[in-house]
Assembly symmetry: C2
């Protein structure tokens, strides 16, 4: 890899004497050397520089699965990740006779390993290059906001295309609010196979009931193997493919960890918003989240009522219900942490400190004085139309039929452009297969009655929009006017919905997929009712997206300096927000006092907890083989995986590690870079750490390596894999 | 009171040097002086002799409500107990406009205090007399087992009648398996009125979800006042009645308790079986409890299915469902503790120790050598017919119609006897009003469809009984034979049930109550189908009851000596099993480490937990007034009820106090005998302590006096009551 060294913040970080408090931070690998003092204070005896080498040990072993992380644990391409990250493969490979989701799977030989199917990829990061100058250099300050943003995007597209020409998968990612840009190049392996996953009674023990909770007893692991062509190069799935030989793999430490140990997580965290302004977080807490909680709950109630009418509808709605519920739970947790947990007040204090720091010095005043007011002004502008914009977005999201029509038009319009680089980000040649796949997949959950219910729900919202924020095209089509009596607008919406449903063929897979290959004019010519609606909304849709771009352009003049001020005020050592790039976070194995009123959490759970939670039903149904193994242990069978201080095999453990979605499947490493567990969850009351890190309460949950090894040897008979990892 | 001193075990207790481990023991008040060393080691500075004085301080303040305990807390007869103990009064006094169960109640003046209705009594223990000699002395050893038991029962009835002639309510109770008998005389106060109960959002906060659980946040208190005639004597409810003036009342200690404090509970615990033999406990764990769990679950499933067919039926079945569920939960907890918790193994070890102690000495061998084998033989005899006996009992219990017919016949048969003392225990003059009341009350939950379903359930069990344990009379009536194919016996049962239901009028309240006033012959002459069935079962019913009496008579030759051996082996200081008589238990305010795998429990919860549990719905709906008071506190309003070490008002607390059902409403006293809280629950995993005390895990939960006082002053405006208690 090329080590980035041109960016100002990294220089600042390396020079920084101050070390930030607690364990906050999903650090870029190259920032780790600057954390040396802090790490040494926690007992780190290794070379922090090692983390900065993306192809060295241990970073070279850490790969992305897209939404999850995994790590190589053998020279033959064996990958360890979470059980909940291999669910797609278990689903794909299940048959009516053999439900792998319930029973788990173990390949006794390489030949038995099962292909995950298309879409399952492994990305190995091979280089990270600082491209800040190429993206943000020499921007004509006279460009208006829209053109400025368009130019920035064009540069990103050009860099990406040039990089991918080398046969890699590339991405130009913004760090620190656009202060820096990095180009990340990854090897893409497309033949990924299922090797081992425990039964649901281990891998998902506790299910939804225990989700986000401690004490936890989930054996949340699964194993893949990456395959390549006989020539060792990435290749499509084929029988003659051979295991990928990674340059680096992790060594398992069968002694596990103990309380107080320094631990690392290396992985691909998805999104955090910790560098957002106080105004943005306050707005999320006071407007966005309460609105989401209310409207998502109402949509769930609607779907619940529909499901009661018809069990088939309930099945169709299941994934949508799960999605709504996930977001609902997450947003409730966010709100709880921000408001009740006091994190919003912390954020306010932090921003006030920043403002005071800027005001305290004339030079700073000159460099950063305009930053906070300018960001507030951009935000205020967005608020003017946010109700309308949010309802418009929800209309597209609520209806698969409308969303498909819109998607097909967007693809067709962009495809009509000659040069790929001219096309909108996300609608380039490289994106078309993904979009088509999503359209195809949508059929499983499609039922016109669901569309009608949810579209009706959001159209009622549209009907109630204030006069200055109307969706005029919808008003015209449905016969709505501002201030209309609710009974009248409801009737108008229902009548329009009936016309819409009667005039569409898009619920049929073939008709919907056919749209995808048409030109913009051909799509319009279908005169399908949902195409008509999409066409009517298209100008407003474009206007909203352009306004967003304009605001992004305006922000690109200010946000990087805001981040620079934040960094400078903090002494330089700040981690950038998560953006699905490779990161390192460190922390400790640690209990939590006063985790709830009247309750302390210990750092470890043990097999004893499985025995006491096991009911033999539903989410608490440990396999007989595991119960028998526990009984054998209790009866005196020796095991090297018993922790003497616990008098039992450790199952899960608590750490202060700072993680978020995307980190799932990440290995937990000890101070010597050895694999000691798999991180798989956080605790509910620290969900809000995605916005403001809670240094006191944040805990993440890992499955301990000794539970993994004990289960593999005593329960699942996966000795050959344990041997392979040795 | 007359202090008992003739009984051998009390002498042994006073002389005992050895002190038993942990805090086990619901001690008889007169045993407390013998605990002096133990109490002093826990910091007790008072005179243990004080507890032995039933009319002194604090024991004179402790009264029974029947199923609950209460204590006088003012010179004007104000009584503190649990919220869940005043639910009957809240129900009785609710109107369609004013649901006291939800909103709570506060009488601003004495005139506003609400009569609890008939049946609500307060019993003040005025004397306890050792009557062992009178009951067990001079028994002709040549009497057969049945006559021996009948004589014992006759003596009990004679003593009771003589005592009650003095205008008191009396009871002769057996202690230590019949080794001692005491006659307890109580003043009965019949005019009891509701003074104050918080809203359900405080008094039942957490509801079923938190039941048996920690952390807990229930304000489980309610206040009554006892009234007497203007002459100060017990009187029926009347407007001109005046508050009872107790000789003793407790003083509230507004400083509450802190971790490690010595605390007492004084009250009327119901039933424990800790002196049962290992064989009896093993049998409960291996036969009775699993059978109960299975059959109760199946009955619940039946009732659930019926409730789904008809909501009205669901309401009728509610109290039955609640009862089945309670027992089910309790038995699961018992089984869990006995088997998984290792208590059964402890019991076994203890009995082996006893057997070894007996065998180790020739004199002991002579005195006690026959005891354990004899008890085992009596138990084995009961096993021969236990399946049949249990099904017979369940038939009577499952059907209100059958149960009523049986009950009416039993009453009529006993009433026909000339002398009250000749009548069976529980079927004497003094019992008739209670039996009639129960028959009347049963109407609320009566629905022939429920009777039919549950009776059918148990008749199917009867059909499946082994050939040597048939209920022959039922076989004849329903046309059942042993070994019949299930489909045939099911059809026979259904046909018989249809005939039964068609031939009865007992579902009508008037017809059912009319039975109660008839002679045995008049009842038989009704030829009601359920009367016919009850008559057919009567000989077997009598036979079973006589067999029980014969076994009791046999046991009365052995069990007292078994208890004597237990006492001697333990050095004399053992508490007798709970039997609804006044007891004292001591313990400490104490957290619990490793309460669950990965979890420790703190000793206190605080208002913060109410804030975080509050959802505004269902069982977690704290009143607005309370939330406002918490907010005021958070905003800086001073309160003397904040515990400095917690930085908040304590809500509930954990203690090692040994309690059981009947202790509900008991005051928790500090080492100076001051009121510091109300005990109201135990924790689920120590339910089995009723059989074998779990010295490590047992915790009971109290509501802290500071939460009580804070709520009364800051939330409910009950200043006048706080003033009265000062």
């Amino acid at each position: 890899m090329r080590t980035p060294n041109s960016s100002s913040f990294v220089a600042a970080a390396v020079l920084a004497a101050a070390v930030t408090a607690a364990d906050e931070g999903m650090w870029m690998p190259q920032q780790v050397p600057a954390l040396a003092d802090k790490l040494r204070a926690l007992g780190f005896a290794g070379d922090p520089q090692a983390f900065a080498d993306l192809t060295g040990q241990p970073m070279g072993a850490i790969v992305s699965l897209g939404n999850c992380t995994a790590s190589f644990v053998s020279p033959d391409g064996l990958l360890a990740t979470n059980h909940h990250c291999v669910v797609g493969s278990l689903q794909y490979n299940s048959t009516p006779e053999r439900n792998l989701l319930v029973d788990g799977f173990l390949a006794k030989t390489r030949a038995e390993e099962l292909w995950n199917g298309p879409g399952s990829k492994v990305w190995v990061t091979v280089s990270v290059e600082d491209v800040t100058d190429a993206i943000t250099g020499k921007l004509d300050p006279k460009l208006d906001d829209l053109r400025r943003q368009q130019l920035l995007e064009r540069r990103v597209k050009e860099r990406t295309a040039a990089c991918e020409a080398k046969g890699l998968r590339c991405r130009v990612a913004s760090f620190f609010e656009g202060l820096s840009y990095y180009e990340i190049a990854q090897l893409e392996l497309s033949d990924v196979r299922l090797v081992y996953a425990p039964a649901a009674g281990i891998g998902d023990f506790g299910g939804e009931t225990d989700n986000w909770r401690w004490p936890r007893h989930t054996g949340d692991w699964g194993f893949y193997r990456a395959y390549v062509g006989p020539d060792g190069k990435p290749a499509a799935h084929a029988k003659q493919n051979v295991p990928f030989k990674p340059q680096r793999w992790l060594k398992l430490q069968p002694a596990g960890v103990k309380e107080g140990d320094l631990v690392f997580v290396t992985g691909y965290p998805g999104t955090t918003r910790r560098l957002a302004t106080y105004g943005e977080v306050k707005d999320a807490a006071q407007w966005t989240f309460p609105r989401t909680i209310r409207t998502y709950q109402e949509q769930l109630d609607l779907l619940d009522a529909l499901g009661k009418q018809d069990p088939a509808l309930k099945i169709k709605a299941a994934s949508r219900v799960a999605g709504l519920n996930n977001t609902l739970t997450n947003r409730k947790g966010m709100l709880e942490g921000l408001v009740r947990g006091g994190l919003l007040a912390q954020k306010q204090a932090r921003e006030e400190r920043l403002a005071a720091w800027i005001a305290a010095d004339a030079a700073r005043q000159k460099e950063y004085g305009d930053v906070l007011p300018a960001l507030a002004a951009i935000e205020a502008e967005a608020h003017v139309t946010r109700e309308r914009d949010s309802v418009l977005a929800q209309l597209f999201g609520a209806s698969t039929l409308l969303g498909s029509a819109r998607s097909a038009r967007l693809v067709a319009l962009e495809r009509a452009k000659k040069l790929d680089v001219e096309r909108e980000l996300g609608y380039q040649e490289r994106d078309f297969p993904r979009i088509r796949e999503a359209l195809e997949r949508a059929q499983r959950a499609l039922d016109p009655r669901l569309d009608q219910a949810l579209l009706g729900y959001w159209m009622r919202h549209a009907a109630a929009l204030p006069a200055e924020q109307r969706i005029r095209e919808l008003d015209k089509l449905a016969g709505l006017t501002p201030g209309m009596a609710k009974a009248d607008s409801d009737a108008a919406v229902d009548a329009y919905l009936a016309r819409l449903m009667a005039g569409t063929k898009l619920a049929e897979q073939d008709a919907r997929m056919a749209l995808f290959d048409k030109t913009p004019a051909e799509i319009a010519a279908t005169r399908d009712s949902f195409v008509d609606l999409a066409l009517a909304l298209e100008p407003l849709d474009l206007q909203v997206r352009e306004a967003e771009k304009r605001r992004a352009g305006a922000a690109s003049r200010v946000r990087p300096r805001y981040a620079k001020a934040l960094l400078a005020e903090a002494g330089g050592l700040v981690a950038p927000d998560a953006n699905l790039t490779l990161r390192v976070t460190y922390g400790q194995v640690k209990a939590r006092a006063n985790a709830g009123d009247g309750v302390d959490w210990r750092a470890f759970t043990t097999l004893a907890g499985i025995e006491s939670k096991h009911t033999g039903e539903g989410e608490f149904d440990a396999p007989d083989a595991e119960l028998a193994a526990i009984q054998a242990l209790r009866a005196g069978k020796a095991s090297g995986y018993v922790a003497p201080e616990l008098g039992d095999v450790p199952v899960d453990f608590l750490t202060t590690l700072d993680i978020t979605g995307g980190n799932s499947g990440s290995p937990v490493l000890n101070g010597r870079g050895e694999f000691v567990g798999l991180i798989f969850d956080g605790t509910f009351d620290t969900v809000a750490s995605d916005y403001v890190f809670d240094a006191v309460r944040t805990r993440s949950i890992g499955a301990e390596v000794r539970y993994l090894l004990w289960t593999m040897t005593e329960v699942d008979g996966a000795h050959h894999l344990v041997e392979e990892m040795r």
